[in-house]
Symmetry: C2
DNA sequence: CTGAAAGCGCTAACAG
DNA sequence: CTGTTAGCGCTTTCAG
């Protein structure tokens, strides 16, 4: 395939990419010395190290990652499994994880499941042999699905969802505290009849946020009517549907917590389309604290998660698991309330 | 490291993951037969194929991608280099490319440059040995930077930016046509003094959009004052800064094209902060057609690019380059105007 | 400190 | 149709 037109020097064209052997020959040393000189893995005399470096530079040598990996067992790559990059929450996660991976000299294999559990499983199976470890933002977290992977020796950190699996790490926000915070705030802001736009029943986080919300309301002498809690997808359209169902009940409703900012934004739009004024007629609070929560009109009050912190903590746990440092743990990240226009009446 | 507690069967624990040799032994055939049975690469008798498949399933065999790649030269991965996942335009691109890669059985190595040309170069250098090909959304596209990679035999498609490099593919939108469309529309919508929020001078796309805009205005008997064109970054904050500078000139201004939806959204916010009513006092048109352009208030009129089409076309070009089918070409994608509230006066 | 040689797990010639 | 053998490019014993 590689054909170097006659007459052209073509420094490295012959057998395609430059191999370590080429560098060694050019430097007049053995392959192993060349290897050691480049990796610094074992001591090599200064003059030789110079020569090898020079030759490598001159020939434009780049180590073949594949061969290196096959030999050492280190893949120099981690997998990041998420449901949807298009959701700003995950986009922010990806951004931070990618940054961490880059700093650590690793590359990032991105797996977008589109909320399909089978696809998620397929990705994970593949990552077992192609990544050093996995950061999993699961769409259907379950012990059954994760355990086999861990037993196969795949370092794995369960992110965002409070599922604890032996041998795997877990990092998640304090969802219940967030739910309580939102409840207290909605009450304090003047709401008296509440609704909750919740998430898929398969997600533990949705349950925790709900429990926290119920408890918070109870602490203020209110309660959440069971049918004032609707389970919809963690998306903008889910939020639209959620508020629609809440409003369709034909009960009073003036304080709503959405389990996700995207849901809250959807709720904001749908409420506007139906002539409900936010915050005058209806208070809406989100959960996540994505950048866009500050770019809606009205701006969105929300329970702020430490998104970058989750990504960074997850990465660090994974890195230390890959390095073999001790047993992974469970980290719960604090949340805080950010009050903006959607819950602030004049 | 792998210690199987005495007494536990541990089907595959011994030497870690199951290798092809294990499957072959278990099925009572040679490694090559096992290989051929699994890959279907060369004919194997039906009964043997059965036995091998059964053994593989029983032992839970998964082919080692690394070894496979080292041997075949196919990496089963493509690289996607973008400036910022957090920007919805790129998030949409990532989403589609990931989908295409998945369908083709490839994994996606995501590289986020953060608009840093050096980082971009470093990623590309690494991808040469670890990916089958690269889709490049460059932050500083230049022949000098891309050519060496192509010469090293890296299949590469230049996306979004109209830079043509021999041996590389190119896919980009018809930026000039988009600029013209926007100009005509702003004139027709009643604007008389124009401004352009442009992008970094290093980006050919910015230049083309500008030229199209100028030409479109000229065709309607207007012109763009040279200092009514400000070059800022392709981001929300860039847009804020852009409109600020445009307004600071203290000249009339009632029709603005932003070269990017994110800029346009920033401009929308900044204009509102400064008491300029859109669309009553000022018409603003964006460029890209990201999902969020429909989620601002007012909603954003914009020049719609075929974002998914760009991603898909880029992927297909890359796939055929990897497969060795002929020479790559240049594809220019059509754009269209989407009129929404930000340019629609009552 | 340096070199020769043995593989990592897999596929692709080569023989049978 | 099946088995044996030789590597892909690299690191890492093992001798010198």
């Amino acid at each position: 395939m590689v054909k170097s037109p006659a007459g052209v020097p073509a420094p490295d064209d012959p057998s395609g990419p430059v191999r370590l052997a080429d560098v060694a020959r050019h430097a007049g040393v053995s392959v192993s010395t060349a290897s050691n000189a480049l990796t610094g893995n074992r001591a090599v005399s200064a003059p030789l190290i110079e020569r090898v470096l020079a030759s490598a530079a001159e020939l434009g040598y780049r180590r073949n990652e594949l061969a290196h990996s096959l030999r050492t067992g280190r893949r120099h790559a981690i997998g990041l499994v998420i449901p949807d990059v298009t959701n700003p929450f995950f986009a922010e996660i990806v951004s931070v994880v990618e940054e961490c991976a880059h700093e650590a000299g690793l590359s990032l294999t991105l797996c977008n499941t589109g909320f399909d559990p089978e696809r998620e499983a397929a990705y994970l199976a593949r990552l077992v042999t192609s990544a050093d470890g996995v950061l999993l933002f699961s769409t259907a977290p379950s012990e059954r699905t994760v355990r086999p992977l861990v037993e196969m020796g795949l370092p794995l950190v369960m992110c965002d969802e409070p599922l604890v699996v032996a041998g795997a790490g877990t990092v998640h926000s304090d969802n219940a505290a967030g739910g309580r915070l939102a409840a207290h705030h909605l009450v304090d802001a003047g709401a008296t009849s509440f609704g909750l736009i919740s998430g898929p029943a398969t997600l533990p986080s949705a349950g925790e946020r709900r429990r926290g919300f119920e408890q918070g309301l109870a602490e203020r002498g209110h309660r959440l009517d069971p049918d004032a809690c609707v389970a919809v997808s963690y998306s903008l359209d889910g939020g639209r549907e959620g508020i629609r169902r809440l409003l369709a009940r034909d009960c009073p409703l003036d304080g709503v917590l959405a389990s996700t900012d995207m849901q809250a934004i959807g709720a904001l739009f749908e409420a506007a389309d139906r002539g409900r004024k936010v915050p005058d007629d209806l208070l809406i609070c989100g959960f996540d604290g994505i950048g866009w929560s500050d770019r809606t009109r009205p701006t969105l009050s929300t329970v702020q998660q430490d998104i970058a912190g989750m990504a960074r903590t997850g990465f660090e746990m994974l890195a230390s698991m890959v390095a073999g440092d001790g047993q992974p743990g469970v980290r719960t990240l604090p949340v805080s309330l950010v009050v903006r226009e959607s819950t602030s009446r004049a």
